[in-house]
């Protein structure tokens, strides 16, 4: 087992494969004959082999040593004669250029070099006249620098000269007055009054009827349909099918025997066998609303898992692949850690602090509706709820929550719960900072002894950076116990993008060592999809967090928990 993320060594995968093969080959007998007892009792003297393999892998991945620098004697410069390196003032530009190239200078600009400035020539001259062979790097650098500055000064002089003739040219143009108050309509009217409304407005030479009308063969007055390009595609398909048909005919007999052989014998699965089945499965998954990239990755991982597996008798490739895919899907949907909200609320009750749940998601997925459903469920289980209206943007958000609160209180009046109001709304109107309201709501709940705080946030698109920052700030500052992402079951490939960007925003803007990410998913509008339940797979695959609740309608009782096997059965159903 190796962990790639700690040490990014390029040879780890290959090393693991090599070790695996070597170990298996060396101790093949022991495994085959004695099984598990052989594993337990045998002594495996593998250290030398392992060290050898490790050394090989390391050597194969070593970067080539950086090239050794050439010594001075080897370079071209030492082979040049002294004479060509002498610089004198007023030298011809051609020689200067050659000189520069020999020294390996990157600075071009032949014209600038032409006349070395009189200012800097003085100090250059004694050094230039002196020992030519020992032009050190620093001196070359300095010389180049001076030339560069010279060039700049020259350019500066040139540019200072150029605006003057332009300004003189500008004086020739007519001044344009943009002052609206004194706008003289007559001055701004450039139309030729004589041509307005007259038939000869557009000179005939400029108008070409052919290009303007386009297709000359069209019937005047008829509205044509939008042209499809399906003809080309149909032709392509026919062309592809034709060569495949004869090959199918040829392989007919052989194929039949192969199928029988595959049914009975112990055949090991290869990629080629699995590819057509996996293609079909992938298309089936995509048709069931699983995000395209997720479907591709799923099929890839199933292929890798099944490669080389020996099939039993009377099992076809299709059935093996289907079963493997089903197992993989069930495992994806069954969470690692089951989120038991009631249990955690009880724990928080014992510590005398409220249990804070935050709902986030894009616009219009059903956050407020499902918040009301969850608060109803919590009240039924005897916990008092404080709803924090942190959606300060959308018109009517606070009123919506107030209506829900009133209804819930009517359903569960204080009299039936020992005199305490089970639901209360904490709101501060519109336009305020959501994080601040959340913090006040939590401290209010702690003072008043509420068991749960449900924080409703405004819907936001995942690529709206300032809003994502605001959400991340709300979650980082208030440290809720549970961050629930609300997503609708109708979403297709968008689910991947939404979840990735939400998680990324939460991770980026958190100051803590372990940032609070999305802890669970609420899948809403489940009653609108028949069996196209792929969104559940996409979301759990991306975040590897469980689906905590499923919303199946708009009344308070339409809250369910996920049944992994049923969802997978609906997904695999043809």
């Amino acid at each position: 087992v190796g962990f790639q993320k700690i040490l990014t060594l390029t040879y780890v995968d290959k090393l693991i494969d090599d070790v695996h093969k070597e170990f298996r080959d060396k101790y093949r007998n022991e495994f085959q004959q004695k099984g598990t007892l052989g594993l337990l009792n045998g002594t495996f003297d593998f250290k030398d082999d392992f060290m050898r393999l490790l050394r090989d892998a390391e050597e194969s991945s070593k970067v080539r040593a950086p090239t050794v620098m050439k010594t001075f004697e080897q370079s071209l410069k030492s082979q040049k004669t002294v004479k060509c390196m002498i610089e004198t003032r007023g030298e011809k530009p051609k020689e200067k250029v050659k000189n520069k190239k020999n020294k390996g200078s990157k600075k071009e600009g032949t014209e600038a070099v032409a006349a070395p400035g009189k200012a800097s020539a003085g100090d250059k001259q004694p050094s230039a006249a002196g020992d030519r062979e020992e032009l050190t790097k620093d001196e070359i650098l300095q010389k180049n620098r001076e030339e560069f500055f010279k060039r700049h000064m020259k350019a500066g002089e040139k540019s200072s000269k150029s605006p003057k003739p332009e300004a003189q040219k500008e004086k020739g143009k007519k001044p344009r007055v943009w002052d609206l108050g004194n706008s003289n309509a007559k001055v701004l009217d450039y139309s030729n009054s004589a041509t307005n409304g007259s038939a000869e407005a557009c000179p005939v030479e400029e108008f070409d009827p052919d290009t303007a009308l386009g297709d000359r063969n069209r019937e005047p007055g008829r509205l044509y349909d939008l042209e499809y390009e399906s003809d080309d595609e149909a032709e392509e398909e026919k062309v592809i099918q034709n060569p495949s048909k004869p090959s199918a005919k040829k392989g007919g007999l052989g194929g039949m025997f192969g199928m029988l052989k595959g049914l009975v014998g112990s055949k090991s699965l290869t990629r080629e066998d699995m590819d057509p089945v996996l293609e079909k499965m992938k298309d089936h998954l995509i048709a069931k609303n699983v995000a395209a990239e997720i479907a591709v990755q799923l099929c890839e991982s199933v292929a890798k898992k099944l490669e080389g597996k020996v099939m039993g008798t009377f099992t076809t490739v299709t059935s093996t692949v289907k079963q493997a895919l089903q197992e993989a899907l069930v495992q994806i949907l069954q969470p690692q850690r089951r989120v038991d909200v009631l249990r955690d609320v009880m724990d928080a009750q014992r510590h005398r602090r409220p249990y804070v749940v935050t709902f986030c998601g894009v616009n219009g997925v059903g956050k407020s509706t499902n918040l009301a459903k969850i608060s109803f469920w919590l009240i039924e289980n005897g916990f008092s709820v404080l709803i924090a209206a942190c959606d300060t943007f959308r018109a009517g958000a606070v009123e919506q929550l107030r209506t829900h609160t009133r209804r819930l209180n009517a359903l569960h009046p204080p009299e039936s719960h020992g005199g305490r109001t089970m639901v209360q709304l904490y709101e501060k109107g519109y336009g305020k900072d959501a994080a601040g309201i959340a913090m006040e709501a939590i401290s209010y709940a702690r003072n008043q002894g509420f068991d749960v705080v449900l924080v409703d946030t405004a819907g936001r698109m995942q690529d709206n950076a300032p809003l994502m920052t605001a959400l991340a700030k709300l979650i980082a500052v208030n440290a809720p116990d549970l961050v629930l992402f609300v997503g609708e079951a109708l979403v297709g490939n968008e689910a991947v993008d939404q979840l990735v960007k939400f998680n990324k925003a939460l991770a980026d803007h958190s100051m803590a060592q372990t940032p609070r990410l999305i802890d669970g998913i609420v899948l809403t509008k489940f009653d609108t999809i028949d069996d196209k339940v792929g969104a559940a797979i996409s979301m759990t695959y991306i975040t590897s967090k469980p689906i905590v609740f499923v919303g199946t309608g708009q009344t308070y009782c339409d809250l369910r928990s996920l049944n992994a096997k049923a969802v997978v059965a609906a997904l695999m159903k043809a």
């Binding site: 594993l39 337990l40 495992q331 069954q334 038991d340 249990r343 009880m346 609740f549 499923v550 996920l562």
Partner: protein, 259 residues
């Protein structure tokens, strides 16, 4: 008169048997062979499906793999976190003929459920290994896993004997079996309330919701379960460390009883 009517038929049969018509005879023989094969096959299936496995379950680092190695070989082995199951036949010490298949399953969160799915039907008994030292910290996780095992429909139907082995007793801070039992009962009591109060499953009618554990109204007790539950203390490492023997006579006695 009846005998008279039967006589010609019997005569025909006797004539057939004496001068057998090959076609009819071969058909009869074939049918007989098929019938015998089916009987044998059903018999063999029945034999194979008799549950002979003892599963070793528990959280990660509870000591299942070391216990497995000690039971089979008696020697100490350095172990790593299991990522797959291991199975071997364990012969009870005094009674040579009795043997069970010990299956050691990985305890890691992402693997434990799928391996349990695979092996639960073959389980005659379950040994649930608990880390007595870290128990105080892990109470909730231990109880959650135990709950998942106990409400499983196959487990409830077969009711395999359950042994909760409180491992790592060689460490001084280890909790006693009695304390572990009390804590687990309390936690399972809470869990069954919260789990049954969870929103019903998507197709609620089909699965009927999670099974109720124990009796309603009364506090949860391990005696309310349909299977026999015992608690033992053991130490896979043993009090003398790696050279000495493991300390699990109670476990071995229980295995002998099961086999």
């Amino acid at each position: 008169a009846m005998a008279g009517r039967l006589e010609p038929h019997l005569e025909a049969l006797r004539r057939e048997l004496r001068a057998p018509d090959p076609a009819v005879l071969s058909v009869l023989l074939a049918l007989l062979a098929v019938a015998v094969t089916l009987l044998i096959w059903r018999f063999v299936q029945g034999r194979r499906s008799s549950r002979k496995a003892v599963l070793l379950l528990g959280l990660c680092d509870a000591g299942k793999t070391l216990l497995f190695a000690r039971l089979l070989t008696g020697k100490y082995r350095d172990t790593q976190t299991s990522i797959t199951d291991s199975s071997a036949v364990y012969r009870v010490s005094n009674n040579k003929s009795a043997n069970v298949t010990l299956i050691d399953l990985p305890g890691h969160k992402s693997l434990r459920l799928q391996f349990l799915e695979r092996f639960k039907a073959a389980a005659r008994a379950i040994v649930f290994v608990v880390d007595s030292v870290a128990f105080q910290r892990e109470v909730k996780d231990v109880a959650e896993f135990l709950y998942q095992v106990l409400v499983d429909s196959t487990v409830l139907k077969n009711a395999p004997a359950l042994l909760i082995a409180c491992n790592k007793q060689d460490v001084t801070m280890a909790k006693s079996a009695k304390l572990i039992q009390q804590q687990l009962e309390k936690e399972l009591n809470t869990l069954r309330v919260t789990r049954s109060a969870a929103p019903t499953s998507l197709d609620g009618s089909a699965t009927g919701g999670p099974a109720q554990l124990g009796k309603k109204g009364k506090d949860f007790d391990f005696s309310q379960l349909p299977m026999k539950v015992e608690f033992v203390e053991c130490s896979a490492r043993g009090s003398k460390g790696e050279e000495g023997d493991a300390d699990f006579e109670d476990l071995e006695k229980w295995l002998a009883k099961i086999a």
